[in-house]
């Protein structure tokens, strides 16, 4: 079973991101379970969502305590909460930022993970450019597909298109594609 935890703030589509990821996994014939952290979801407040992916039925209902991958939608969260809690030693870290991991003081964390498992992507910037609003979730999922291979990019795009038919969905897919390519080219260079 693969477990993904998504951290962000209310209004960034954190819950939707987990849902889209679960739909992408579902489209690949897998079992997936997405759920929010069940807080009062106020705009700007820290929000957590979870997604489990497996080849068999998922029975576990506890919050994700030991994630295989972390998606951090807002880099200011590192100061507010212990985002890395339980992250597996061979896990993945994906951060939405237009700065480098070094500027966010994340090189230590990245060094503890296998080479190439920690990545920064300017998802909000890409979203502003392609969608017209800095909602980073779709772009992050595109980057996530490139970074981890847990789901295929095509499934992510299909999930976005299914949940958001029309112009908004297509714009999100453009942002996701740009993020996917940014990460894929980084990995190719490395």
């Amino acid at each position: 079973m693969l477990q993904v935890r998504i951290h962000g703030r209310g209004g960034q589509g954190v819950v939707t991101a987990a849902e889209l990821l679960s739909v992408a996994a579902f489209l690949e014939g897998k079992h997936a379970q997405a759920f929010p952290s069940f807080g009062s979801e106020r705009t700007g407040a820290p929000v957590v969502s979870f997604c489990r992916i497996d080849d068999k039925e998922i029975r576990l209902r506890e919050p994700i305590l030991g994630p295989d991958a972390l998606i951090v939608q807002d880099p200011t969260l590192f100061k507010a909460i212990d985002v890395f809690q339980g992250l597996k030693p061979d896990g993945y870290l994906l951060v939405n930022t237009n700065k480098g991991l070094g500027q966010l003081h994340l090189l230590d964390v990245a060094a503890r993970l296998p080479n190439g498992h920690a990545c920064a992507v300017p998802a909000s910037e890409l979203a502003s450019k392609h969608i017209g609003r800095p909602v980073p979730n779709a772009a992050l999922l595109g980057a996530f597909a490139a970074l981890t291979g847990i789901v295929h990019f095509h499934s992510v795009a299909t999930a976005i298109r299914q949940q958001f038919p029309g112009k908004i969905g297509e714009a999100n897919i453009v942002a996701a594609t740009a993020a996917y390519e940014a990460i894929a080219s980084q990995s190719a260079a490395a």
Binding site: E19, H31, A32, A34, F35, P63
Partner: protein, 421 residues
């Protein structure tokens, strides 16, 4: 059809497949997405011939459902927590009048202190109100139980409450098989009321009943619930034959063969318990699970048959009667009364107000039941140090202040100490 959707949406689609004719909707977290989904299905006419009524309160929601049901319509509503309390009088009326209303309860804690998260206090508050109460383990079972609930309610002319864990199930997006209308229609045939308010053939429903007849009316309610003990397994078998899935019935067992310790639980926590049991079985612990689906009627005989022979029965439940203990544990105790070979019963109170129930905590407490069994209720993951500080404070200071606020302040203080370290 397999879909990756939110539990609430799936539940709404399942209810629509049962062709309700009146839906009374009033929002309350975490149930709201269900009636929103139904509202959309009515608006788009995917659910036809259905009156969707936005009422002004939960009391009105169930009262309108009672009126609709008495007039011969298949009636549905949903609520949670304080909403159920607000409709309490109507809850008793629906069952006392013998009206086959189906209600979803998105299980949530009851305040004060106000808490929107999941536990089973709301269901337990109405456990003796004459409704049948079925608990869903998964969102798939929530779908399946609603379909069986309409059939059961109308067969007996008794209301059914389908309990679905708030947030944990209602807000989880997962793979759910939504049945075909063509399969649901024969399973839930058109509603044929046993009593109906019809201007062409007037009767009265809800007469004043004195000491000469009240006991008999109550006895017959009890008699009908006992009939459900036979009907629930029958409907579950028929459901399986038609839809190919195990769901409903009175209870289910998991790895109970040769078990010396049997866990008993209701609702979504059963999944986490199964994963825990698999891990403990791999370590050689003889542990199994009894998942209770029907809490009312209480399957006394079926439970006794499963439990006798085990050394320990650990009841884990998300509610408790203050001053007494866990309601489910008490009911299990009753089921074993005067029974030879009955296991010792150990009670665990867990998941109150949405506290996560983790595999780690379950491991620890199940092991403890084997080596160091306890009497009375054990509160899983209780923060004993905070409790001790508050008790000390209360003893020292007369105007000790509001308990909830005191506990919150202490929690913040200890979090800051941890951060400073």
């Amino acid at each position: 059809m397999l879909k990756q959707i939110e539990g609430s949406r799936a539940t709404a689609e399942a209810i629509a497949l049962c062709r309700p004719e009146v839906i009374c909707a009033y929002p309350i977290t975490p149930q709201t997405h269900i009636v929103e989904g139904l509202g959309e299905l009515v608006r788009t006419a995917e659910l036809a011939n259905c009156e969707f009524i936005n009422v002004e309160s939960e009391f009105a929601a169930l009262s309108v459902a009672i009126g609709a049901s008495a007039a011969g319509a298949r009636a549905y509503t949903a609520t949670s927590s304080q909403g159920l309390l607000f409709m309490a009088e109507a809850v008793y009326n629906a069952s006392g009048l013998g009206l086959p209303i189906v209600m979803t309860l998105g299980n949530r804690a009851i305040g004060a202190p106000i808490n929107i998260w999941n536990d089973h206090s709301d269901a337990m508050s109405m456990r003796d109100a004459g409704w049948m109460q079925l608990f869903a383990e998964t969102n798939q079972e929530a779908v399946d139980l609603h379909i069986q609930a309409f059939r059961l309610a109308e067969e007996l002319s008794m209301p059914v409450m389908v309990c679905v864990d708030g947030f944990i199930l209602t807000h989880a997006v997962e793979r759910i098989d939504i049945p075909d209308q063509a399969d649901v229609d024969p399973f839930v045939p058109p509603y044929e009321p046993v009593q109906v308010l019809d201007p062409q053939d007037p009767i009265s429903i809800g007469a004043m009943v004195g000491p000469d007849a009240f006991t008999e009316v109550r006895f017959l309610q009890h008699y009908k619930q006992n009939l459900a003990l036979r009907l629930l397994p029958e409907f579950s078998a028929e459901f399986k034959a038609r839809f190919g899935r195990e769901s409903g019935g009175l209870l289910r067992t998991y790895r109970t063969d040769d078990a010396e310790l049997l866990v008993i639980a209701m609702g979504s926590v059963n999944g986490t318990i199964k994963d825990t049991i698999d891990e403990m079985r791999a370590d050689g612990v003889r542990i199994g699970l009894v998942t209770l689906v029907s809490f009312r009627p209480f399957p006394t005989q079926a439970l006794r048959d499963v439990l006798v022979g085990a050394k320990h029965a650990v009841v884990i439940e998300k509610s408790f009667a203050i001053g007494m203990g866990g309601q489910l544990a008490n009911n299990v105790d009753l089921a074993l009364r005067n029974t030879a070979g009955a296991p010792q019963v150990h009670s665990i109170i867990a998941g109150l107000g949405g506290r996560p129930i983790t595999r780690q905590s379950l491991h620890n407490v199940f092991r403890r039941a084997l080596v160091q069994p306890w009497e009375g209720a054990h509160f899983l993951d209780l923060n004993e140090s905070i409790v001790a500080k508050e008790l000390h404070h209360v003893r020292k200071v007369r105007r000790s202040g509001p308990t909830a606020e005191n506990i919150l302040r202490r929690l913040n203080e200890s979090a800051q100490v941890v951060a400073a370290e």
